[in-house]
């Protein structure tokens, strides 16, 4: 495979960045990454991304949490049969609270786990192909092309209104 050259282009607003992405779609160059300081619905819709799957992790966590909470409370009650003022040892009414809190706790664990797994964080290698202004005001697009085409790619980005450079 021919050596790849990378070009990083910075745009002042997301509309221009989105139109650049659209332009890249029909071109021989490859879109590597898009960086932005805020989540931009324009960019996300142009990239046609699917809905995130983090929710499934959260739901799984919640279900596990509810079952663990209730089971822990029941097990604890059976192990130490303390009858307090005539109440049954296994009583669903107070155990619902324990179940509820565990549901939320484990759902949040699921949420964080899902988030970290899906985004592949923590990860520091990609900081090399990154422009620090992307966390500030600029929307960055990283594209790669084959050897010899980098000038064309640079010109394409500049024509779209971005500030481009080689990486």
């Amino acid at each position: 495979m021919a050596a790849e050259k990378k070009v990083m282009a910075l745009f002042e607003n997301d509309t221009r960045a989105a139109s650049a992405i659209e332009g890249l779609a029909g071109s021989p160059w490859k879109l590597e990454q898009v960086h932005s300081p805020i989540p931009s619905s324009k960019i996300l819709s142009v990239l046609k991304v699917k809905k995130s799957r983090v929710g499934y992790f959260t739901l799984a966590g919640g279900i596990i949490g509810f079952l663990s909470g209730i089971s822990l409370a029941m097990y604890s009650g059976i192990q130490w049969n303390l009858v307090t003022s005539g109440k049954p040892v296994i009583a669903l009414i107070p155990f619902l609270i324990v179940g509820f809190e565990f549901t939320v706790l484990f759902a949040v664990f699921g949420n964080v786990l899902g988030f970290l797994l899906q985004t592949n964080l923590p990860e520091f290698k990609s900081l090399q192909d990154y422009d620090e202004r992307c966390s500030g005001e600029h929307f960055g697009i990283l594209a790669s092309c084959a050897e010899g085409q980098q000038e064309a790619l640079l010109a394409f980005f500049q024509e779209k209104g971005g500030e481009a450079r080689f990486l």
Binding site: S85, G86, K87, I93, P94, L96, I97
Partner: protein, 376 residues
């Protein structure tokens, strides 16, 4: 449409009179009381939606506010219905003539009726005041200056805040006087908030039904989008949870304390036959089913489906009102004292509410969220 509603009202009235003149007049008055509380709550809670949106300066629900305000048309009817409780007082207040152990100062007919009527007058008066200024602003009144419109808006805000305070106090008072007093030995400090959260839950449900009907009927001209229904559905879900939470708060505290003067009320209604069956039905209809269904996002934006769901919830809450009052009004019942007359009387009240809302929307077309041809 109005013809159908009038027929419903007449059917209800007929059933009521038939039952009252028969062998068991208490059944008629029971149904009357349950329906009075339920339908008044729907109207009071319905208007609260518009009031709260105004006070919080929320913009998402503007088209819905007019529909919510139309429920205020039921207020005069509700007031008359309250006064008409008087002839049935021996059936509706089981503590009449009994030994009240000191509560006689509070639970007397003249005092009860005067304070509740005064409360209703204040609440309904504030509601009408809010509506009055709202309509003035909606009508535009080109000759009114910006300053006057600001003044009206300001007055509306003051009245809105007062309505919210009156809502909490008056609905709590009614709950204590009409429902909690039926078991004079029992108290629950959360009973008032329980009642007015239930009322808002109902008001939202009624608003969804009316909005869905407007959407179905007016199709393209309605300014109600699916995001309105989505947000309304989310609010409805939230208040379903809050209502259930307030029930649980009372249940847990009473269950745990295990004090006989408190637990007898709960045990009668949720753990002994025949009422325990009704309790489970209420739990499923008004909590489990809406909870599970409304977790889904899409379903909230389907008008016809939401009409069905909200109606189901209404049936559940009607049964809940009946459950709270039943063991006190019919002590020692072996089977649930419900019959055809209850259904017919309820239909009568439904007719009254429908007529009131229809009247308001016809008389004040500004309330209807429909794009009109004329330029204002």
């Amino acid at each position: 449409m109005t013809a159908i509603f009038s027929v419903l009202v007449l059917v209800g009235l007929g059933a009521f009179l038939f039952q009252v003149s028969g062998q068991h007049p208490e059944k008629a008055w029971q149904a009357y009381l349950v329906n009075f509380i339920l339908w008044s709550a729907i109207a009071q809670g319905g208007l609260l939606f518009s009031v709260v949106l105004h006070v919080t300066k929320a913009r998402w629900g503007r088209p819905l506010q007019g529909l919510a305000e139309s429920f205020a048309a039921f207020f005069p009817i509700s007031f008359v219905l309250f006064l008409l409780l008087f002839p049935g007082r021996t059936f509706v207040f089981p503590w009449l003539g009994g030994d009240l152990h000191g509560k006689e100062g509070w639970l007397t007919i003249p005092f009860l009726f005067s304070r509740d009527a005064a409360g209703l007058l204040i609440l309904y008066g504030l509601g009408f005041g809010y509506l009055y200024y709202g309509l003035k602003l909606k009508r535009g009144f080109r000759d009114a200056s910006e300053r006057t419109k600001e003044e009206w808006h300001h007055r509306m805000t003051i009245i809105a805040v007062l309505y919210i305070m009156a809502y909490a106090l008056v609905l709590s008072l009614l709950a204590f006087d009409l429902v909690m007093s039926a078991d004079p030995q029992w108290i629950s400090t959360l009973f008032g908030p329980y009642a007015f959260v239930k009322a808002f839950y109902m008001g939202l449900g009624a608003l969804i039904i009316v909005a869905a009907l407007v959407r179905i009927h007016h199709r393209e001209t309605a300014s109600l989008t699916s995001s309105h229904f989505h947000d309304l559905g989310k609010l409805f879900f939230a208040f379903c949870l809050l209502w259930a939470d307030f029930f649980y708060c009372q249940f847990l505290v009473i269950w745990y304390g295990n004090l006989p003067e408190e637990t007898s009320y709960i045990i009668q209604r949720t753990m002994t036959l025949p009422w325990s069956r009704l309790a489970w039905v209420v739990f499923f209809l008004s909590f489990v089913i809406p909870f599970v269904i409304l977790l889904n996002k899409q379903v909230k934006t389907r008008p016809r489906f939401m009409i069905g769901l909200c109606s189901l919830v209404f049936v559940g809450i009607w049964l809940e009102h009946f459950l709270l009052l039943g063991p006190a009004l019919c002590p020692g019942a072996d089977s649930l004292p419900m019959g055809m007359t209850d259904v017919l009387i309820t239909l009568g009240f439904l007719g009254l509410m429908a007529m009131a809302v229809r009247f308001a929307l016809a008389r004040f077309p500004e309330l209807l969220p429909v794009q009109r041809q004329e330029v204002k």
